[in-house]
């Protein structure tokens, strides 16, 4: 009898779980974003962007007459939850494509699932491993520039300035790890020597030691690779130590909030950033200018804050999928093919995309501008 009670209880529970599933007309695409948790400052912008864009699309009559529904799942910045979210989107909601996840680790975690389900995934994260080796990533694309490209942009700049010895600081999460690998791997190509390879944890509160070690090792410049508050702490420590060597940040630096938080310390920090942060300083005829302007204005109108580079990743991913669906209809395989073959010279927020069967990202170092912080604002280094 105890069992019977328990049975009723469990059944009731299960039914309530199932009760929330539904099936309707609209075309569904899914998104897995770090809406909460440590990476939520990324997921937040991305979520805002998707909501904004979906609204616009539907206002304009949807996709070939059918409304579009974007189902956003919160991965809580964790991989198990991202996996569950992916399963839910695929198995319950039967989405035709998935945008996200927001971070490299989560993206890596869901790849096996979407590959098996044969659903295209357009990741919003940076790690090179997400789309490479490309023959094993048939279904995976991404709209954030490769770490590699960001590293190339930095190294190329350094080459120009004659910097040969660098110290690198990376955060011990997936993003930092992939960045570190790229930094170490590409250095010799540019004749650069990594003299210090230091790490810290996402929750660390002082990086003086790492900076100082790099400096003592003879670094002529520091490259910090992280996202979140730690990149600001590094900046502050760097200023306090008065090392007199330049500090470079990754492409995760592109949020005004970082400058605000760092205050005067941010002056002179250099980073390869997508053009969204400097759109107003671009020449009129730049191919991205119009798109950037339109998006930034709309975003600011709706959310009263500036979008950062992360918002751009979501914008590009969404637009690619929408364009594909408009052309080939809501069919997963066709969407994938469309993106792989037809996104050529395609101006987006993060750059001008050239996706091919060999390159599922389609952005290179030229999608970055080297940007320096001057008087609390971004400035392009010519």
């Amino acid at each position: 009898m105890a069992g019977l009670r328990v049975l009723l209880l469990i059944l009731a529970f299960l039914f309530s779980v199932i009760g929330f599933s539904y099936s309707k007309e609209p075309i569904k695409i899914g998104a897995i974003l770090s809406v909460t948790g440590p990476a939520s400052f990324i997921g937040e912008q991305e979520k805002n962007t998707l909501l904004l864009l979906a609204e616009e699309v539907n206002k304009a009559g949807g996709i070939n007459g059918r409304p579009l529904e974007v189902i956003i799942e919160d991965s809580k910045s964790g991989e198990s939850q991202a996996v569950l979210s992916a399963k839910k989107l695929i198995e319950r909601d039967k989405v035709v494509a998935i945008l996200g996840p927001s971070t490299t680790g989560e993206s890596m975690a869901v790849i096996p699932i979407i590959s098996q389900a044969k659903i295209p995934l357009i990741s919003l994260a940076a790690g090179t491993g997400i789309t490479e080796p490309v023959n094993e990533r048939y279904w995976v694309f991404k709209t954030a520039q490769y770490d590699r490209s960001a590293v190339e942009a930095i190294y190329r700049y350094m080459q120009k300035k004659g910097i040969q010895k660098v110290g690198i600081l990376t955060i011990t999460n997936s993003f930092g790890d992939q960045g570190r690998k790229a930094l170490l791997e590409l250095a010799p190509k540019f004749g650069i020597q990594v003299v210090a390879d230091e790490r810290y944890k996402p929750e660390d509160s002082d990086m003086t030691v790492q900076l100082l070690k790099a400096h003592k090792a003879g670094a002529q410049a520091i490259i910090n690779w992280s996202v979140g508050p730690t990149q600001v702490i590094v900046v502050k420590n760097w200023q306090a130590l008065k090392l007199n060597i330049p500090l470079f940040q990754s492409h995760g630096w592109g949020s005004k909030k970082n400058i605000q938080l760092a205050g005067s310390a941010a002056e002179g920090v250099i980073a390869p950033l997508g053009r969204i942060v400097v759109w107003d300083k671009l020449p009129e005829k730049h191919p991205q200018k119009k798109i950037l302007e339109g998006f930034v204005r709309a975003y600011e109108a709706k959310y009263k804050t500036e979008p950062g580079t992360f918002a751009g990743h979501a914008y590009d991913a969404f637009m690619m999928v929408v364009e594909a669906m408009k052309k080939v209809g809501p069919d997963s395989a066709k969407i994938r093919d469309y993106i792989e073959h037809k996104i050529k010279n395609w101006p987006g927020i993060s750059g001008v995309f050239n996706i091919s069967p060999k390159d599922h990202c389609g952005l290179d170092a030229s999608s970055f501008e080297m940007v320096v912080v001057k008087k609390g604002d971004w400035e392009i280094i010519q």
Binding site: M1, V6, L7, I10, L14, V17, F20, E79, K87, S174
Partner: protein, 314 residues
């Protein structure tokens, strides 16, 4: 019938079958996935329940065992081509050996101090996986699915059946242990270690064994997890996993093995139920947990038992 259900052996079998039945009935692969996760969590929680409810030793380091079990098994299959079931067992045993690092401090530490020592252990494993694990913090994938010879478990349903039957078997084992004198001796550990010493009980062996057993359960669950999701990265194996299963054990009811089962189902399904509330789910989740713990002081098991008694009387 009543007798049969009361008997924990058939009762638990019935319960597991019920979950399998739910899996067949709804044919919702997503729900099955969630239930597989619940099964894995239940197995981990069962291990922790033996350690905490029975032997009164707290552990915040079980994430370490979960991680070791998963990583070892994945590496064994990928690098050494060991058949998956075998590698799961080997890795669980191997991970269990690591529990000596917990059992030794547990000989001298109690309460909060033991909690921190175990937490440190779990955290060290987590950090080492980050530093030395294949793929570092980014993790690695392409881990083979669970297979028996030529038969490979593909669908969530297959995993559902596998994990819950496995859980049932381990539930029975645990049941055996708690009702035996060995189990009673473990319970005595709770109240007086000094008295046990003077009765000639070898505390070292007692503690090492129960820590190993508990670790084995959790590592086993971790191993299966690896071959279920086929991608691993250290982030899954942080301290929060330990807190999660601790929560399951407590909210289910620490003093009964059923607690691990009910707690795992409750905590695993809770986010699914809260899904329609979108971002508010964090708030609700906290609210449900807080008040769950407040009102089900004896755990879900105790509460259900209470209802049941009333039902019998009325």
């Amino acid at each position: 019938m009543k007798k049969l259900l009361f008997n924990s052996y058939s009762g638990s079998l019935f319960f597991c079958l019920l979950l399998l039945f739910a899996g067949f009935l709804f044919k919702d692969p997503y729900l099955n996935t969630v239930l597989v996760m619940a099964g894995l969590n239940a197995l981990s929680a069962l291990g922790l329940s033996l350690l905490m409810g029975l032997a009164g030793q707290i552990s915040l380091g079980h994430n370490g065992f979960y991680g070791l079990g998963a990583y070892f098994s994945a590496i064994l299959t990928l690098k050494y081509n060991i058949p998956v079931p075998l590698s799961i067992i080997i890795s669980a045993s191997l991970s269990a050996l690591f529990s000596i690092f917990l059992a030794l401090p547990a000989l001298r530490l109690k309460g909060h101090y033991l909690a921190v020592a175990t937490l440190a252990f779990g955290e060290i494993i987590y950090l080492l996986l980050n530093e030395w694990g294949p793929g570092g913090p980014s993790g690695f994938g392409d881990i083979p699915k669970l297979n028996f010879g030529s038969y490979t478990l593909e669908s969530p349903l297959a995993y559902l059946i596998f994990i819950w039957l496995l859980f049932w078997v381990f539930f029975l084992f645990s049941q055996n242990l708690t009702t035996s004198t060995y189990g009673r001796t473990l319970k005595a550990l709770h109240s007086s270690e000094i008295a046990l010493k003077t009765l000639g009980v070898n505390l070292l062996s007692l503690k090492i064994k129960i820590f190993m057993l508990s670790a084995f359960y959790t590592a086993l669950s971790g191993g299966i997890y690896a071959h279920f999701v086929t991608f691993l990265s250290p982030a899954n194996f942080s301290i929060f996993y330990s807190i999660l299963i601790l929560m399951m054990v407590m909210i289910g009811g620490m003093h009964s093995l059923w607690g691990a089962l009910l707690g795992a189902l409750f905590i695993t399904l809770l986010p699914e139920v809260l899904r329609p509330f979108k971002e508010y789910d964090v708030l609700l989740y906290g609210l449900v947990l807080t008040f769950g713990l407040l009102f089900f002081r004896e755990g879900l098991v105790g509460t259900i038992k209470g209802w049941f008694q009333k039902w019998l009387i009325s």
